[in-house]
Subunit: 254 residues, 2 copies
């Protein structure tokens, strides 16, 4: 049992939690909580850590995992994000997806995210994307790190089920259009009400940065700019709300 | 000019920022940022504070305000929530709305919030409510304090334009139903797909707590339970996303 905060594995977890670079170099990320750990495909779990209490309770089935370590409650608390940790934490291998626009069939729907900064927004968008049946999420290099613990938590497990890549959005938009995908950018100015758009067999939606919207280069590449109707004196909607409304409109409400 | 962090007004601002009780007792709340301060109706502004830099720049029009104080940049920084403050902050009187169900006309739409805990979610819902033309937001006593600085920031100014009250939701639901308002609760079990609901002339939607959904008493009172369609293995959506989808569906997409 690990009972020292100075244990190298414990230090390693803390580094993975705090450093995007460390996560990239090691190709791992950290998940915490019984439910989230159980949602991770066991073959992706590099290392499972259980608190002494949870291990002794016998309520957490460990048969599926190759590498399991028990950690004293005190040390577990020291790496946990929560005040009363549930006692389950895992290092998970980063999934590696790829996007081949020529393989996208009719009915595909992509969500392109341009420099989304807020981890909660990003995670919520991944969660909503799964619910709306999104084929793939494409993030610009300027997006928050998807393996940031706050993003992971906000995805509520969708991180394991929604394919995603990080790529240059202008190139991706051009490649998608070449394959017949209609790429709509969510915008406020010179934009068409989404209810007036034609139905697209292959569809991609671009959501821009919380403060600045979609960057110029990307906006110049899209097939069309669309806007969400708004009453009152609201100038814009929250980015995750905008993504949800657009994805749901095209999937379920049109 | 206020140049000491121990100034009683400065201490008062800090207390208002950190304590819901203090805000209730004084009937005030704090807003920060040039844009947000400008969105506040001047007659609601009890006291305006400008940083020395902003005041000297002459770019902030102060004619509309009765009470203005200049604060040294260093002291302003000490009360600011942000790393690089814009230099405008105001104490604002809490608006006081009331709900009279007998006065609700056709086309009214209410948003009822049952113990929404996350300040960002709550603020985002107020912002979205304005965009969807909501008549009034009713919050249960267990909701986060609407005058919490994080809520205020997330509303992006809608706090000044959307009527809201805090009340017992069961009583409100009963009173609304008595006036012919259809009250739908967002639920996961035993619920009807929202696309299969009948159009309501007077409509209220209840959104429940992030973890536990709508409380039993309220759920037993609603006219009907409705659910948002979901693909994949998603068990639920973020509360602010759910509110947005329901409000927009009934307002714009049905």
């Amino acid at each position: 049992m690990i009972s020292s905060k100075n244990n190298s594995k414990i230090k390693g977890i803390k580094k993975l939690l705090s450093s995007a670079k460390e996560r990239r170099v090691r190709g791992l990320f950290v998940i915490e909580g019984i439910r989230l750990v159980k949602e991770a495909p066991p073959e992706m779990v590099e290392q499972l850590y259980l608190s002494e209490s949870l291990f002794r309770s016998g309520t957490f089935e460990t048969d599926f995992y190759n590498n399991m370590e028990v950690v004293s409650d005190e040390v577990f608390q020291s790496v946990s994000d929560t005040v009363t940790p549930q006692g389950a934490l895992a290092l998970v291998r980063q999934p590696s997806w790829s996007l081949d626009p020529s393989e996208l069939g009719d009915g595909c729907r992509l969500l392109l995210l341009d420099d989304i900064q807020d981890p909660g927004n990003l995670g919520t968008m991944i969660r909503t994307a799964e619910a709306a049946g999104v084929t793939m999420v494409v993030m610009s290099e300027g997006c928050a790190d998807i393996f940031n613990p706050k993003v992971i938590r906000s995805t509520m497990g969708s991180i394991f089920r929604v394919p995603f890549v990080v790529d240059d959005l202008v190139s991706v938009v051009e490649a998608l259009k070449a394959e017949g995908v209609i790429v709509y950018g969510a915008a406020l100015d010179d934009a068409v009400d989404l209810r007036e758009t034609e139905k697209a067999e292959k569809l991609a939606i671009v959501i821009g940065n919380e403060g600045n919207g979609i960057s110029k280069g990307v906006l110049n590449s899209v097939s069309g700019k669309i806007r969400i109707p708004m009453e009152g004196r609201v100038e814009s909607l929250n980015a995750a709300v905008s993504a949800a409304l657009l994805l749901y409109y095209f999937r379920f409400f049109s």
